[in-house]
Amino acid sequence: MDTITIHNTIIEVMAAILDVSRDQIGDDASMDTIKAWDSLKHMKLVMTLEQEFGIEFDDQEVVDLLSLRLIELAVRAKVPA
């Protein structure tokens, strides 16, 4: 999967789970910048990303997915190019 598709898919999932518009998810999007992004939403986000991309995050990876950039790095590392 190419980088742009990964990026767009992540944005879509985040928008749906965090209940924000795509425009509200900037490059610096994180738990700090999106109010609704709390620990509960985080677990839903992680499980939906796993389902969407057919991947699995281990416990430490789950805890580290704190921003859009970190999510992108993690997904790109697991999804075949």
């Binding site: 994180s30 700090d32 580290d64 704190l66 921003s67 970190l70 993690a74």
Partner: protein, 394 residues
């Protein structure tokens, strides 16, 4: 301000003052004492005093003038006063106020004064006695230090944090020695930047693991800067990641020698210059790895940085009595070439775990080093200031 020993029994001070209506008006405004005897002509004329009598304390207040300005003057602390009012003072009376030292108690720093006030007819209107303490001279007032020499050596100053420190110290008025080992062009560039900003700097090449080269550097620095004030032990090799299983003790010692041994040697070399003037400041650049769980593949670096922190703690007591301060600045992950190999994920996670949500910049560190080198930190030694955006909060 005179010393207590400069006074003599019999010494006198005098002043004259014409008591006016304006004096009375201001006294009433200040004290609220509007007793009609002092302010109501008709009332006063009908009284037994047959006219306005000015406030007794108005006249007596000029004792304060003599004591505070003349005898003993600055540093006087009025301890006690007795007063006898002998005759009324009228508007437009010209008063002569006099105080004379009758006793001196040197150890208690006390003077006993006899006071009197006479009017223009030579009649005594007031007598009294007081005790006045003469405070000791404030220590700092006369201990203002001469401007310190401005030379500061910064090791490893051709790039990164060292270069930022050099630029900041120069901007604050220091004459900076930009020490480098390999990259003459980079060091020269730092000096040019400093010069363009109106500061003073010289690049001096020295391998600081070599005592002879360090000695030569210090001598040249002293000559160029016209006197040395401080040292920033910043130089650090790039971090070589090694698993413990593959690590040899020689590598650990080499790194220790390179950082702590060099810092030790530079301090020894500059010390005579600082001790001669009984002032100076040293900053050792430590690291967050000495405070938090150190990265397991950085063992030689971690141990060396812990050594830098220990060097500060051990030398603060030794150097302090000679007027020389030594402190540590401990940066967190700072955006320089030293972290070029750190994966982006690690950098992003570090930011997310940092209260200020960003990595440090070399200028962040330089600002704190400059504070510790400055007069503003003149009572700070043996301290570690952490520049890591709050990462070590917990």
């Amino acid at each position: 301000m005179r010393d207590i020993k400069e006074f003599a029994v019999g010494e006198k001070a005098r002043l004259s003052h014409l008591i006016t209506l304006e004096d009375t008006r201001r006294f009433v405004e200040l004290t609220g004492d509007d007793n009609p005897l002092h302010v109501d002509r008709e009332w006063a004329e009908r009284s037994a005093m047959k006219g306005i009598v000015t406030h007794g304390m108005l006249s007596a207040s000029f004792l304060s003038t003599i004591i505070g300005k003349n005898l003993p003057g600055p540093g006087a602390l009025w301890v006690s006063q007795n007063i006898e009012f002998l005759a009324p003072v009228r508007l437009n009376d010209k008063l002569e106020i006099e105080a004379e030292i009758v006793e001196i108690h040197v150890r208690q720093r006390l003077l006993k004064l006899r006071c009197q006030i006479t009017n223009q007819r030579g009649r005594q209107v007031l007598t009294g006695e007081c005790l006045v303490k003469l405070l000791a001279k404030p220590a700092t007032a006369e201990a203002a230090p001469a401007a310190p020499p401005r030379g500061i050596i910064v090791t490893g100053a051709s790039r990164g944090i060292g270069a930022a420190i050099a630029r900041k110290l120069a901007a604050d008025g220091a004459a900076v020695i930009v020490n480098y080992r390999r990259d003459a062009e980079a060091a020269a560039s730092v000096c040019r930047q400093i010069a363009d900003a109106g500061g003073q700097a010289w690049a001096i090449r020295a391998d600081i693991t070599d005592r002879a080269q360090v000695a030569a550097m210090v001598e040249e620095a002293q000559a160029r800067a016209g006197g040395l004030y401080g040292l920033v032990n910043n130089a650090s090799e790039p971090i070589a990641e090694r698993d413990f299983a593959a690590l040899e003790w020689d590598e650990v010692m080499a790194e220790f020698q390179s950082q702590v041994g060099s810092a030790f040697g530079c301090i020894k070399a500059i010390l005579p210059h600082l001790q001669a003037r009984k002032q100076g400041a040293i900053v050792n650049i430590g690291s967050i790895v000495a405070d938090q769980a150190p990265p397991p593949t950085w063992i030689p670096y971690n141990i060396a940085k812990a050594g830098m922190h220990a060097l500060t703690r051990n030398l603060a007591e030794v150097l302090g009595p000679g007027g020389i301060r030594i402190n540590t600045v401990s940066p967190g992950m700072t955006d320089t070439a030293l972290i070029a190999d750190v994966p982006e994920k690690v950098r992003l996670l570090t930011q997310m775990h940092t209260p200020l949500r960003r990595l440090g910049s070399p200028e962040d560190v330089a600002g704190v080093v400059a504070f510790l080198m400055s007069e503003a930190a003149r009572h700070v030694t043996g301290e570690t200031l952490r520049v890591n955006g709050g990462k070590t909060l917990l």
